[in-house]
């Protein structure tokens, strides 16, 4: 039996600590603390971060019941809440287009909301109400599966630092003006857009993440960009559109990012960059670029190889390089332009800082091997070169190994790892 004199251990801690504890609980448990004792009755009501998900309600097979339960829970929590709400996050697959969400957003817009994350379910997409555009203090906005239609009078979120739109229906002009209208924007993520042609003007932008079918992207004013990750899906008409375009994509995309430190490209990114006029002399050097990852580079397309070379030869401080190939092995034996490597390739470039190279999905096509040879010969500080053959290549592996053995290495301590599965 507990001694009667045992003192309350926790209720008299400062409110900041109590909030620190309650914030780390799931919202359901935090609200339940109101029943513990008279001192705890309203301790949870001043939490400034409210994170709701499906764990707030009892799971059951009845979808309606879960939806209603979730809506009720959120409505009542908001109703009982006191004080400002700085963060509101809702992640659910059950709610889509629901009038209660409009009311919650209205309530939040009157309570100094700063971070809003709305991840809704598949189905009919929720149309964001106009009260969202009145949230002047918004610093972070994440929307999943919504319709976003700013009113004409909307100029932008002046405090917004992070914007993440995933599967959001919005017109391209609206996006462009939204991005330009958020002068403090540092992080931008756009995913699953269809045929979007975009010009990005964001003087403070540091992090960029793009994924989708982009017709055209131009980074017009992003001098502070530090890291970018781009996945370009390409349909046939986009590819056609590209063929006809004459502007140099490489310059349009990477021409204005001198502070870039990390570059990650997926799917057709290298192809996208390769389109356009001759690269010529690139005016800028990527003095800070340390990590480059390019996926699905086709080593049968000379233009793509040129893009890669162009990039890495203008990055004197490159430390880590990862390239995955996507070559069609059947056509590869007879490769054109192989003499490029002996004749035209810049021979006096040295990758002084390059330490780690990872080549994945290698099919053993001639250009791939020449590229590896080029890297090995010009990387005096190399520590690891790991090569993983493509899973479809079974017979060619021995040939790859034989060739690898012959290559000269500039770095005495370089290890070559041939990774099989």
């Amino acid at each position: 039996m507990d001694d009667v004199m045992s003192r309350d251990l926790i209720s008299d801690l400062p409110q900041s600590i109590i909030e620190s504890i309650l914030t780390r609980l799931p919202i359901r448990d935090a609200v339940r603390t109101s029943i513990l004792s008279s001192k705890w009755r309203y301790k949870w009501t001043t939490l400034t971060q409210l994170v709701f998900d499906e764990k707030c309600v009892i799971l059951s097979n009845d979808r309606c019941k879960v939806e209603d339960g979730l809506v009720n829970f959120i409505t009542r929590t908001l109703f009982l809440h006191q004080g400002p709400i700085h963060k509101f996050q809702l992640t659910t697959t059950h709610l889509q287009c629901c009038p209660d969400i409009d009311q919650w957003l209205l309530f939040l817009s009157r309570n100094d909301i700063k971070e809003l994350v709305l991840e809704l379910g598949e189905g009919e997409w929720f149309r964001v109400p106009s009260c969202l555009f009145n949230c002047k203090k918004l610093t972070r906005l994440d929307l999943f599966r919504c319709e976003f239609d700013p009113p004409p009078s909307f100029k932008g979120f002046l405090c917004l630092k992070s914007l993440n739109l995933h599967q959001v229906l919005v017109s391209p002009e609206a996006i462009e003006s939204l991005i330009s209208g958020c002068p403090l924007l540092e992080s931008l993520a756009l995913s699953y857009f269809d045929s979007l042609a975009l010009t990005i003007r964001a003087p403070n932008l540091k992090f960029l993440c793009l994924e989708g079918e982009f017709k055209d992207i131009c980074l017009e004013n992003t001098p502070l960009l530090v890291a970018m990750s781009v996945a370009m899906y390409m349909t046939d008409d986009i590819a056609e559109h590209f063929e006809q375009s004459s502007t140099c994509n490489f310059n349009r995309f990477l021409g204005g990012v001198p502070r870039l430190e990390r570059l990650i490209g997926h799917i057709y990114f290298t192809k996208f960059l390769s389109i356009g006029d001759d690269l010529g002399r690139l005016p800028i050097t990527y003095a800070h670029l340390k990590v480059v990852e390019l996926n699905q580079v086709s080593f049968e397309d000379m233009k793509e190889i040129l893009v890669v070379l162009h990039l890495i030869t203008n990055s004197p401080n490159l430390r880590e390089l990862q390239i995955s190939g996507s070559s069609n092995t059947l056509a590869a034996i007879d490769a054109p332009d192989l003499d490029f490597w002996d004749d035209e390739c810049p021979s006096n470039c040295t990758f002084k800082q390059l330490r780690v190279v990872r080549m994945t999905d290698m099919s053993g096509v001639p250009h791939e091997m020449e590229f590896i040879k080029f890297l090995l010969a010009n990387s005096p500080a190399l520590e690891t070169m790991s090569i993983s053959p493509c899973v479809y290549v079974m017979d060619g592996r021995l040939n790859m190994l034989i060739e690898l053995l012959r290559f000269r290495r500039a770095s005495a301590q370089a290890e070559i790892l041939f990774i099989q599965d």
Partner: protein, 359 residues
């Protein structure tokens, strides 16, 4: 040799120490780099120049007792070393916070007073892990929290939830019950007075003057009527008491809903009661319809009473069932309880006030 001499001879061998004094008066010296890991101590040293000697020891806040201080210094000693990997730090942290809950709470408090945020975060996380997923009884036991919310406060959402028709019915039934009880009380009081008044009523005087004909019958009738009424009232009272006793049996103490509602609203109910009395008094003297209503209620009451009892038992059973599910359903708590007044209109119908302003 004094410390100063030693310092002159081999300065690089001397570590510098900071002097700290805890609330109980004991003073100790701690390696400088360890102590300076705490922002509060850092501030004292840099801004105020304290801690350099025993006489100028830094007074630590009251929440930092020697045991807590030694724990905190262990933490600082480990983490202030720059070369440790994240993995090492995490694994140290995990081992470090393995202690009983009482010390964990004291440590949180002490770390907060020294402004050592990483340690506050660590202990908050640990306390949150302790609270997560437990029932309120378990949490109260762990942290020695008093169970001082009344049943009504715990169940309060019921009164405010008007969605469920059963809850609405019950609220209404309780209200009616309360009203009836109040009325009977007042009737009893007024009747007692009325008896005396009737003894000297005009009828009596007239009969005395006119002789005992039909009037006496009338008087008798009225007297017996009153007697019957009184008996009926008593019956009603006892039945009401029984009903209340039945309620008492239910562990949730639904009667407390009535009682504490009345008690809680004493101040305002007092105001309401006087006006109620006034109204009721007026009604009775004005017309007898009110009493007739009460009589009619008497007839219905036993049947209704049973229904009420059944509903109440049902309801209590529901409440006693799985606690977490229950809380899920009724997870709304009113801000403040608005006192609900019941008073009678001129025609005897029930009128309900949400707050006194609507008067």
């Amino acid at each position: 040799m004094s410390e100063v001499d030693m310092a002159v001879i081999k300065p690089e061998m001397m570590k510098s120490y900071i002097w700290l004094q805890t609330a109980d008066g004991s003073i100790q010296q701690v390696e400088q780099e360890v102590a300076m890991f705490c922002p509060m101590i850092c501030h004292e040293v840099i801004q105020k120049g304290m801690g350099s000697s025993k006489n100028y020891a830094i007074s630590l806040p009251q929440r930092v007792n020697p045991a807590m201080l030694s724990l905190i210094l262990d933490y600082c000693r480990f983490h202030q070393v720059p070369g440790r990997s994240n993995k090492e730090r995490k694994s140290f942290d995990e081992k470090f916070i393995r202690m009983d809950t009482k010390r964990l709470c004291e440590l949180t408090s002490a770390a907060d007073s020294l402004q050592l945020k990483p340690l506050v975060d660590l202990t908050s996380r640990a306390l949150a892990r302790i609270i997560e997923g437990k029932s309120p009884e378990e949490i109260r036991e762990i942290f020695h929290l008093p169970d001082d919310l009344t049943e009504e406060e715990k169940l309060e959402p019921l009164k405010n939830t008007t969605d469920d028709p059963r809850i609405r019915l019950l609220n209404r039934l309780y209200a009616k019950k309360r009203k009836e009880l109040k009325e009977r009380q007042k009737l009893k009081n007024i009747e007692v007075e009325e008896e005396r008044v009737d003894d000297r009523s005009v009828d009596d005087l007239l009969s005395f003057i006119n002789g005992d004909n039909g009037d006496s019958k009338g008087i008798k009738n009225s007297k017996s009527k009153k007697k019957n009424r009184r008996r009926k009232d008593q019956q009603k009272n006892t039945s009401a008491n029984e009903a209340i006793k039945n309620h008492n049996k239910e562990p949730n103490g639904l009667n407390q809903v009535c009682r504490s509602a009345e008690v809680g609203q004493k101040v305002r109910a007092g105001v309401g009661a006087t006006s109620n009395l006034h109204d009721v008094g007026d009604d009775i003297f004005d017309n007898k319809n009110e009493l007739d209503d009460v009589d009619i209620d008497d007839e219905i009451d036993p049947a209704l009473k049973e229904k009420i009892d059944r509903e109440v038992e049902d309801f209590a059973r529901r409440l006693n069932s799985d606690w977490p599910e229950r809380m899920q359903e009724i997870l709304s708590f009113g801000h403040e309880r608005k006192p609900v007044h019941f008073s009678l209109n001129g025609n005897g119908s029930l009128r309900r006030y949400a707050n006194s302003e609507q008067r």
